[in-house]
Symmetry: C2
């Protein structure tokens, strides 16, 4: 089964040093939504947290040796489904970001951990477990 | 830009009434991981919460009139990126599930909101915002 997706927009930032995870980031950027989806941005407001699902477009192809990896901030090898590495069977990333502003087809965000040009697949409301 | 993914496994459940959201679900099921990815399951343990990213394989194609939708439990039309509807530009779902057991290539989970046969795209550790 092959699943195909198209970006709903792209992420941009002027930052050059990108933190390894949103939970420790205070860097900023913005999401530029494809104009055909502007209506879907309704109810996204500054101050909210959103879940952003994106594509690690720069990740090399996944290989079997990456099933366990040693994250830079942990001293041991861990299973790929227990870590946030960008090198995963499906290179999908997830960040919980704070909306700092919304205008036309642009969503300004804080706590970013994606690089400039990252394709965005989906945005969802953040719901804590 | 076209992005292609392959399921890492499939979700199964014996339940026939599936709650609309994991946050209000007490139903159970299991994820059957493609055997080639078993090593990546290392460190997934009963009692943990995991983020499961999946594909709404039964959703009809997205159309422009779905950019705003009225969720069944809310009385008003909302932008698709502010709700959890399965009908979205990229039909990607996200659930926070509790692991109740792990054996070989199977992960038993509680609080499910996916239907039997759902293709799983990724599993990540749950990190609260």
């Amino acid at each position: 089964m092959k699943i195909t997706m198209n970006p709903i927009g792209y992420f941009h930032t002027d930052e050059t040093e990108i933190p390894r995870h949103w939970s420790i980031s205070d860097e900023r950027g913005w999401i530029e939504i494809d104009p055909q989806y502007i209506e879907g941005m309704k109810h996204i407001r500054a101050g909210q947290q959103i879940v952003v699902i994106f594509y690690f477009h720069r990740s090399d192809a996944f290989t079997k040796d990456l099933l366990v990896q040693t994250p830079p901030h942990k001293g041991r090898k861990m299973g790929v489904f227990s870590i946030c590495s960008p090198r995963r069977p499906n290179p999908v990333g997830l960040s919980v970001l704070e909306v700092t502003g919304v205008r036309v087809n642009r969503i300004d965000v804080n706590h970013i951990d994606m690089i400039d040009g990252t394709p965005i697949l989906d945005i969802k409301p953040y719901i804590a477990a």
